[in-house]
């Protein structure tokens, strides 16, 4: 059975943060969602210290084999999440990983402490694709910022801390190394790649925010290379993601050293993509095993 930082998982497939609202999905599909939950663990949307409304429309734009988004992390804020959403997410039949983000170490610490204190939470994912307002640096672009953030958060909880790496930096592996030095339990990658598009109807930016993040099969080769380079640099378990839409895609991430994979954009196209990818992955790993020469003949 796959395992992540001591958490037993029924399959090796979880969701990417921000790509599945299990509460809205349950409202749409009813309790069939719980009977056949598509992921082995559920990662929440990123929670920030204060509520956020999100970015002005247009928020999404289709691109070749992918899409741009500039959603802007809409969420109820830490208090609203803990009071309203967490009890409902705890009804899901899988372990819960809560994604958090803040723009100061103090706020990050406050979020981490309060989220970790809830027994419904199995692990915390740190979204570090954000600036530290004191240094002005994007935490996830900078190994020493990342290490310092981990130094601040590590003493606060025994629960696993997963660092979500940004691909929008020259050397993600060195940031992963900073996370490892600071005591991270795992890294997840990739987040979306910065990108933009022009709306042919207006000649202006297609997205209300001017730019967004690219996801979908278009980013998969980039994600695979980042997983490979991070694997070469750190010993931490890796949650690999970026354009996975089939078991064969997931197997590529596993082959390059990911312990677990996450499905994101594909769930938009197929609400049960997680289950499908897990089934396909299992059969592809089985057939791989059965095709290996049998060496231990005694």
């Amino acid at each position: 059975m796959p395992e992540l930082c001591g958490i037993d998982l029924a399959t090796a497939v979880i969701n990417a943060s921000g790509t599945y609202d299990a509460i809205a999905a349950r409202q749409t599909f009813g309790d069939a969602l719980l009977d056949d939950f598509p992921f082995a663990a559920f990662v929440s949307k990123t929670i920030t210290p204060e509520p956020r409304a999100g970015n002005a429309p247009r928020r999404i734009w289709e691109t070749p084999a992918g899409m741009l988004n500039s959603i802007g992390l809409p969420n109820k804020g830490l208090d609203g999440f803990l009071a309203e959403d967490l009890p409902r997410l705890a009804e899901l039949p899988v372990p819960l990983i809560v994604s958090i983000m803040a723009t100061t170490r103090e706020d990050f610490a406050r979020c981490a402490r309060r989220v970790a204190a809830r027994r419904e939470v199995a692990a915390i994912e740190l979204n570090i694709s954000c600036p530290n307002v004191h240094s002005g640096l994007i935490v996830g672009e900078n190994p020493s910022e990342t290490e310092a953030l981990m130094d601040a958060l590590r003493p606060l909880t025994e629960k696993p801390l997963i660092v979500k790496l940004t691909p929008n930096t020259a050397d993600p592996a060195s940031v992963a190394a900073g996370a490892e030095r600071g005591g991270a339990d795992a890294v997840s990658l990739i987040n979306t790649l910065k990108g933009t598009a022009v709306d042919p109807a207006t000649g202006g930016p297609a997205l209300g925010n001017g730019y967004g993040g690219l996801s979908g099969p278009a980013v998969r080769p980039v994600a695979l290379e980042q997983v490979r380079s991070v694997r070469a640099r750190v010993d931490l378990p890796i949650i690999g993601m970026g354009g996975i839409s089939s078991g064969a895609d997931a197997a590529e991430f596993i082959a390059l050293g990911a312990a677990v994979v996450a499905v994101g954009t594909e769930s938009f196209r197929d609400p049960r993509a997680g289950s499908r990818v897990a089934t396909e992955l299992e059969s592809s790993l089985l057939s791989e095993r059965s095709s290996e020469p049998a060496l231990d003949l005694d």
Binding site: F29, L33, N69, I71, P271
Partner: protein, 296 residues
């Protein structure tokens, strides 16, 4: 902030979980648009205003890597499929890009992935306005689709209603046949406006609506509208001006249709956003400040 979704008046059982493959029963011309009929053997019957996410099983992505995402399309007509034991879902489609283009080209016997029915539905006039005596349906372009199903439902339930449909010119009169009775003639409660004057009243559909709103008409109750953003905004503003309740079925770019992507944000009066897929697609006039091309 995302508010709790409105209750769904009359909403049926939830959509089956996941996407499912449906056979295309037919694809016919409808005044320049296409009516694509699918046979759904699993889902519940949709309510007027609800939509499905559609993607062709083959050739999706064949146009330089697009279409990639499924397309959110309102259901225009539904009936029992005697042969297959399921329901037939009719969708009115205008080829405006790689996704709708592929769906417009689809042939009988091909497969289409569907998820749905999704979103809320139109409420009855009395649910919107306890004193309402009836309904006025105002549609334009490909947006006449959900009003066709609504008209049928109102007819079946004896809700007094009138229908105003606006079209640009002769080349754009798609979906009109969805408002015809079994004899093939346009239903008597339907009035047409065309900007080129080739049929019906020459002008805009709001020119037909204004005298109804301004007059002292006992059958007036609630306005139901769907169409291009400029028309929706004109109808919304007219209704607000005359103190008449209205429900608008909006459109937005959507990646998922079930609340996952947060892409279909519609600004709320006073700040924050609705998710059109789960809070709509049908919104009350007061839930929208101004219908804009930015999200519609």
């Amino acid at each position: 902030m995302d508010s709790a979704p409105l209750p769904r008046p009359g909403a049926a059982s939830p959509a089956p979980f996941g996407r499912r493959l449906c056979d295309v029963a037919s694809n016919r011309d409808s005044g320049g648009y296409r009516v694509v009929s699918l046979i759904d053997r699993e889902g519940p019957e949709p309510e007027p205003g609800q939509f499905y996410m559609l993607a062709a099983a083959a050739g999706w992505g064949a146009d330089d890597g697009r279409a990639f995402l499924p397309r959110a399309i309102s259901v225009a007509e539904t009936r029992a499929d005697a042969a297959g034991g399921g329901i037939r879902l009719d969708f009115l489609l205008d080829a405006v890009g790689p996704g709708t283009g592929r769906l417009c080209d689809i042939e009988a016997g091909e497969g289409v992935w569907i998820t749905g029915p999704l979103g809320n539905s139109f409420a009855s006039p009395r649910e919107v306005e306890p004193e309402a005596a009836g309904a006025v349906l105002v549609g334009g372009g490909v947006g006449v689709a959900p009003l066709a199903l609504l008209r049928k439902r109102f007819s079946e339930r004896g809700v007094p209603h009138r229908v105003l449909l606006g079209y640009r010119d002769r080349a754009h009169t798609g979906g009109l046949d969805l408002f015809c009775g079994s004899s093939g003639a346009l239903c008597p409660e339907v009035k047409l406006s065309t900007e080129d004057g080739h049929a019906g009243f020459q002008g805009r559909v709001t020119d037909l609506l204004l005298p109804i709103l301004a007059g002292d008409d006992a059958s007036l109750g609630v306005v139901y509208t769907c169409g291009p953003p400029a028309m929706l905004e004109a109808v919304r503003a007219l209704c607000a001006e005359h103190g008449v309740a209205c429900e608008l079925a909006l459109e937005s770019t959507m990646a998922c249709g079930f609340g996952a992507c947060f892409g279909c944000a519609v600004p709320k009066p006073g700040g924050g956003f609705l998710r059109l897929c789960v809070d709509g697609p049908v919104l009350r006039g007061g839930q929208v400040e101004e219908v804009s091309h930015a999200y519609a």
